[in-house]
Amino acid sequence: MPNFIDRRLNPKDKSLGNRRRFLKRAREELKRNIKERIRSGKIADADARHAVPMPQDGTSEPSFQHARASGRRDYVLPGNREYAPGDRIPKPPAGAGGNGSRAGIGEAEDDFRFVLSREEVLDLFFEDLELPDMVKLSLKEAVAFKPRRAGYTTSGTPTNVNVTRTMRNSYGRRLALRRPRQEEIEALARQIEELEAKPGTPDRRTRLEALRAELDRLQRRRRLVPFVDPVDIRFNRFEPQPLPNANAVMFCLMDVSSSMGEREKDLAKRFFVLLHLFLKRRYERIDIVFIRHTHEAGEVDEETFFYSTQSGGTVVSTALEEMLSIIRKRYPSREWNIYAAQASDGDNIAGDSERCASLLTQEVMRLCQYYAYVEIIDERETEIFGATDNGTSLWRAYRTVGESWPNFQMARIARPADIYPVFRKLFARQPGSQMR
């Protein structure tokens, strides 16, 4: 007689831990993969496909394997119908499954893929990016309060009475203090009535007396132990919770003047597309204001900003002035976190760059949490300017701003492939800041 064991009731999911570990790994792998693909695919063009070495935490399981396309080997196969020794069979083209020899699990496993929705891709893509200083330092104390439920209290306003709690307490107290129930009293009263209706004998009279005394005692007790006592009453307690001021607005400033060629506009738009995606994805409540400018600036909607064409001269300061007037009208800086991103080719009408710089230092930067300037330059110019501080008039003027304001950042983009690194650089999560 063997030993039978019914294992069906054993706890399930014995391998849950393993699966979790695998998903964690796969996630890291996916993130890397997505970044790679976006960099070389849609958002930026692939100029060089370079092999990625096995990541430290990859999900591949390598081992020494024989290469299929080398050497001499023999196969023994079943089901011969027409072949005679010496017959030659052309090989299937490379990659078409070889000669039907061992197609084991090992290979199939490597075809194991994840299918991600667009949202999941974006989530992974934008992970660990955020707007810097989401909470204004100066606003940290003076904030709005929102009442939050926090347990119960014995005092409060009648509107906040918690009936369930109150009745529970009352019931417990009534039980503990033996408050006579209504039915008991009614039963007694009925008995008394019955006795009264009958002719009185001394025996009945004494009994009637006793019953009346009992009824009296019960009624007194009922008065002493009320149905709901003030000590039973409980109120919902609300605690005012400070809410960080997280209203945010992002100003997107783009130069669409004629000096911006197709290529420059394309790069600038790609940058803003990325920014737009990122903001929409990560922040529920954020206003985005699109401003484009030539020699005059105007606020436009998303559609126009990304798809319509316009051109003209270049006066960058108009955009800054437009931004300031919008801030004054709609986004008082006491209540709003203000961010701005500006893209331009750096060309500006003579003398205006200095005006821009002074506008920035004197007004805009006081209001802004963060200001990112992206300059679109020619590919040839990268070699000339490289990392130097030389450059267009706007670049030189903005350098001075960057020196005095640490929350002003600037970067150059020459190729589509630069966009993502620059974007990451501008919005990488600051160490130590945990706010979302």
Binding site: H66, V76, Y83, K91
Partner: protein
């Protein structure tokens, strides 16, 4: 039909439902035939009923009831589950573990007829093979494996607690990459030590770790006298002490790596022990499955002959039996290699036939056994003393070659065609037989990579050698990735050299310096 009806008609069960009494009745009836008629010799059985989800769990932990945690098992689970949920692949009806007592998992959704079939197949067929085959006897330790796995699981968990999951995973990843090179092929591995002994060794290591004194390192070294000759002698001695060349890379790294901590060595050891435990299974797939299939086929037929199972149940059993031994031709879209069940079963049936009704051809080919009549002993002997390669070389008869219409295809990577080298005719039998046997030789299927040299006095450069047979090289991407893993365990430069096994010509050399880390 009621229980009474069943017993009065002589049937063991009727209908497809079963309960534990049915299983016990079935088991006893099967055991009677297996032990008395087939003379099988088995470990005590432990039959466990499991659900499909538990079967998937068991799959993903390479069939072991106890396994340490590692992400790769999660990957396997996700993969198997995907196939199962999409309906690409069914689950096995049973799973059997080479242990003492022999544990067999039976799926709960099997019908009574299927439970009879898989009990005969696993609890008797596989069980007998595990207990008697020389490979298993020599290379595995059925009595100790479960307690060892229990130890391994707990040990890995303790290490994770102490050193962090990622540190443990890094070591296990690297060790898994070398699993195929982590077995002793030619010398017997030491027996698994008892729990007590392992405990003692660990305590000793802990003690050493606690009492380690850095002061000892400051003692001045003995000056080495003598010139280069002396040094050469030392190197030679060192190499001899290291037992080079060494085929078991994991063993070598465990014992000699200069950067591993004691717990890391223990992890390598665990992976190595598991690899060694599975080593015989991979070399006896045809025999093991053939043996189990032959046993269940014989027992089920005997039960039917004795009137213990109904015709309906027998039909179900035969249908599932023929599914198991189905062998599509090479050009069939369902073809995925030779089916070990089909080949093993056909060969063993053929041995029975040769023993009882030999043809003149059989007398020619198998003079020892043809017509001897005692097929049971012949089979018991074959099951005990062969692995796939030698079994095929010894027993593959022309009749089976003709039945499978086997042919040999020579494939040279340099030519755009494959050439048919032999077919099932007089001239081809021998060639096909030896070619098929070779294709089951694990020494040929797997790359032969060994440790050949370590420059311990210099830069500690570890040299591996790949003996290239028939010009078959290594897959480059996985080779480099695996080398990186070796380097992670060794800590210093590692290089791999490809040497032609026949000419000794050097075909390639790859170092971790080229690969990067």
């Amino acid at each position: 039909m009621t229980e009474k009806g069943v017993s009065s008609s002589g049937l063991l069960f009727s209908g497809s439902d079963w309960n534990f009494e049915t299983l016990a009745r079935l088991y006893d009836a099967i055991a009677e035939i297996a032990l008395e008629e087939l003379k099988l010799d088995i470990y005590p059985n432990q039959l466990e009923i499991i659900s499909s989800e538990q079967m998937l769990d068991a799959y993903s932990s390479i069939g072991m009831p106890l396994m340490y945690q590692h992400w790769s098992f999660g990957k396997r689970f996700a993969f198997e589950e995907h196939l199962y949920r999409k309906g690409y692949r069914g689950l096995a009806y049973e799973l059997v573990i080479n242990s003492n007592p022999c544990i067999t998992y039976l799926m709960e959704e099997n019908t009574a007829a299927m439970q009879a079939l898989v009990t005969a197949h696993a609890a008797f067929g596989h069980n007998h093979f595990f207990k008697n085959n020389y490979m298993f006897q020599r290379w595995t330790d059925a009595g100790a494996i479960l307690s060892y796995m229990d130890f391994a699981k707990k040990y890995v968990a303790r290490c994770e607690e102490r050193y962090g999951t990622s540190a443990v995973e890094a070591i296990l990843d690297s060790a898994h990459a070398l699993m195929d090179q982590g077995v002793f092929r030619y010398r017997r591995p030491p027996r698994l030590s008892s729990e007590k002994e392992r405990e003692r060794v660990r305590e000793r290591l802990d003690y050493e770790a606690q009492t380690y004194s850095d002061l000892w390192r400051t003692l001045p070294r003995k000056k080495t006298e003598g010139g280069s000759e002396e040094r050469d002698r030392e190197v030679r001695e060192r190499k001899r002490n290291l037992h080079l060349p060494e085929e078991n890379l994991l063993y070598f790294l465990e014992k000699n790596s200069l950067i591993l901590e004691p717990w890391q060595r223990e992890l390598l050891r665990i992976v190595r022990v598991i690899a060694q435990y599975f080593y015989p299974q991979r070399q006896t797939k045809v025999m093991n499955e053939g043996c189990a299939t032959f046993v269940h086929h014989t027992i089920m037929n005997r039960l039917y002959d004795k009137g213990k199972i109904s015709e309906g149940a027998m039909l179900e059993i035969l249908q599932s039996h023929s599914n198991v031994i189905f062998q599509p031709g090479f050009d069939d879209p369902r073809f995925s290699g030779l089916n070990p069940y089909a080949l093993g079963f056909a060969m063993m049936k053929d041995i029975e036939r040769i023993c009882t009704e030999p043809t003149p051809e059989d007398r020619d080919w198998f003079p020892d056994i043809a017509g001897s009549g005692n097929w049971r002993e012949t089979l018991l002997d074959a099951w005990a003393n062969h692995r796939d390669e030698s079994f095929i070389l010894q027993y593959l008869s022309p009749a089976v070659i003709r039945r499978f219409r086997l042919f040999q295809l020579a494939d040279d990577a340099g030519t755009p065609y494959c050439e048919v080298a032999a077919i099932h005719n007089e001239r081809g039998y021998e060639a096909i037989r030896s070619a098929l046997a070779r294709s089951y030789d694990i020494g040929i299927i797997q790359p032969d990579v060994q440790v050949v040299d370590v420059d311990l006095l210099g830069d500690r450069h570890l040299k591996l050698q790949h003996r290239v047979r028939n010009g078959v090289l290594l897959e480059e991407a996985t080779r480099d990735a695996t080398l990186r893993h070796v380097r992670r365990l060794w800590g210093y430069e590692v290089s791999l050299e490809g040497i032609d096994a026949v000419t000794g010509e050097r075909l390639y050399e790859r170092s971790t310096r080229q690969v990067g880390t």
